[in-house]
């Protein structure tokens, strides 16, 4: 296992190709759930959890169900089915067995089903290839799902902090609500451009 690959994946999916700010995945929940810091943290945790799980499960579906049967073209259908079921299963499981965790994270789970970030990370895990043409292995896929979730959470939490402050600002009428949220995202995305080309190794 090459540890440096994991570092590269982490830097890439948290900073350089941040899911929200650079890849435009999961914009709806990013704009929708970033009004309050507390909900943003909860949502972020739930996304990290689901993305990690989804990366693991879709890896098996891809390489043990679809590829052997030569059915890669059914990927979209299979993945969305799996993800939807997975989320629902996790939700039910949490509700019954971990009520405190459910009340903290669970309420965000349904919102994640239709979050394109989750399907996006599953597809990216399959499509991304290293320079030598090798696809992500299982650990790399899972790690990518996990770090992409962290990237999403960082963006969401920063945004929520700023939006809480903007609640008290003297915004121009026409910028109140969604417009300023997008302008703020633009400026955060601009700041994140500073990470472009970053390589630790």
């Amino acid at each position: 296992m090459d540890f440096s690959n994991l570092v590269i994946i982490a830097i890439s999916s948290i900073f350089i190709n941040n899911f929200v700010l650079a890849r435009f995945l999961g914009i709806c929940p990013f704009i929708g759930v970033s009004k309050k810091l507390d909900s943003a943290v909860g949502m972020g945790m739930a996304v990290i959890f689901v993305m990690t799980m989804a990366s693991m499960v879709t890896y098996f579906i891809q390489y043990y169900v679809l590829v052997p049967n030569d059915l890669q073209y059914l990927r979209t259908i299979a993945f969305i089915l799996v993800i939807a079921s997975l989320v629902q299963f996790i939700e039910m499981f949490m509700k019954k067995n971990m009520p405190p965790l459910y009340s903290a994270l669970g309420i965000f789970l349904p919102l994640i089903t239709t979050n394109c970030a989750v399907l996006g990370v599953a597809i990216l895990n399959i499509d991304t290839v290293w320079a030598d043409g090798r696809s992500y292995n299982f650990i790399e896929s899972t790690w990518n799902g996990f770090t992409a979730g962290i990237g999403f959470t960082i963006a969401l939490v920063l945004m929520a902090g700023i939006r809480e402050k903007l609640e008290l600002a003297d915004l121009p009428e026409s910028f109140k609500g969604l417009p300023i949220a997008f302008v703020t995202s633009a400026l955060i995305a601009m700041a994140f451009l500073g990470f472009s080309g970053m390589s630790i190794l």
């Binding site: 704009i31 073209y73 939807a84 239709t114 597809i123 026409s174 302008v183």
Partner: protein
């Protein structure tokens, strides 16, 4: 509500992107040029029409408690079809839209229309509604991509307007076709719409 209204309401009044704030991810991600925006809009429209029609045809046979998974599967099937079609006939476009073609599945506009409209209305009405919404989605995407392409590269639909006008030294702002540009354009368009709405309301009040 008559058919024309049903069709046109999605264009501006209930525009899925600009008013209802649905389907934002593709609206921001692929709108770097009009070609892309148009392609994405049309692909989504096709999926929307297909899935809405099918859902409204078979709505009677769907048990209500598992309707959502069934809708998702139907939508996913259409998306796969479109994906394969594009790969076969428009490989360039398919490449530049990339990830976002399969992601049409999770575009909440499509699921939203299926659930809120197609599963409750007749086939004809659903088709008209889907067509209207699809056109509205395409309009929004083209609008956003036009702004970004123009300010980003100085061109519109590939025609280098600045150069045609004879302005040589000026260069477009590359930022507009980078991610921040997408957010910014969206924010400014929404701000403009809000401003326009408030201005109209104020005018009414003065009267």
């Amino acid at each position: 509500m008559n058919m024309t209204q049903n069709l046109t309401k999605g264009f501006f009044k209930e525009n899925p992107v600009l008013v209802l704030a649905l389907g934002l991810c593709p609206a921001l991600a692929v709108t770097t040029s009009i070609t892309n925006g148009l392609g994405m809009g049309m692909a989504s429209t096709a999926v929307l029409i297909g899935s809405s029609t099918l859902i409204s045809v078979i709505k009677r046979f769907i048990p209500s408690n598992i309707r959502i998974p069934i809708f998702i599967v139907i939508i996913a099937s259409f998306v796969t079809m479109i994906d394969l079609t594009l790969q076969a006939f428009l490989p360039e476009l398919s490449k530049s839209l990339g990830l976002f073609i399969p992601l049409i599945v999770v575009n909440c506009m499509i699921l939203g229309r299926a659930e809120a409209y197609a599963s409750k209305n007749s086939v004809l009405k659903s088709v008209v509604d889907a067509l209207g919404m699809g056109i509205g989605f395409t309009i929004a995407l083209v609008l956003i991509s036009a702004v970004r392409e123009f300010f980003g590269t100085g061109a519109l639909y590939g025609y280098p307007l600045f150069q045609l006008m004879g302005i040589e030294g000026f260069k477009g702002s590359i930022m507009m076709i980078l991610p921040p540009g997408g957010f910014l354009t969206m924010g400014l368009i929404l701000a403009f719409m809000q401003w326009n709405k408030q201005r109209k309301e104020k005018k009414k009040e003065v009267k």
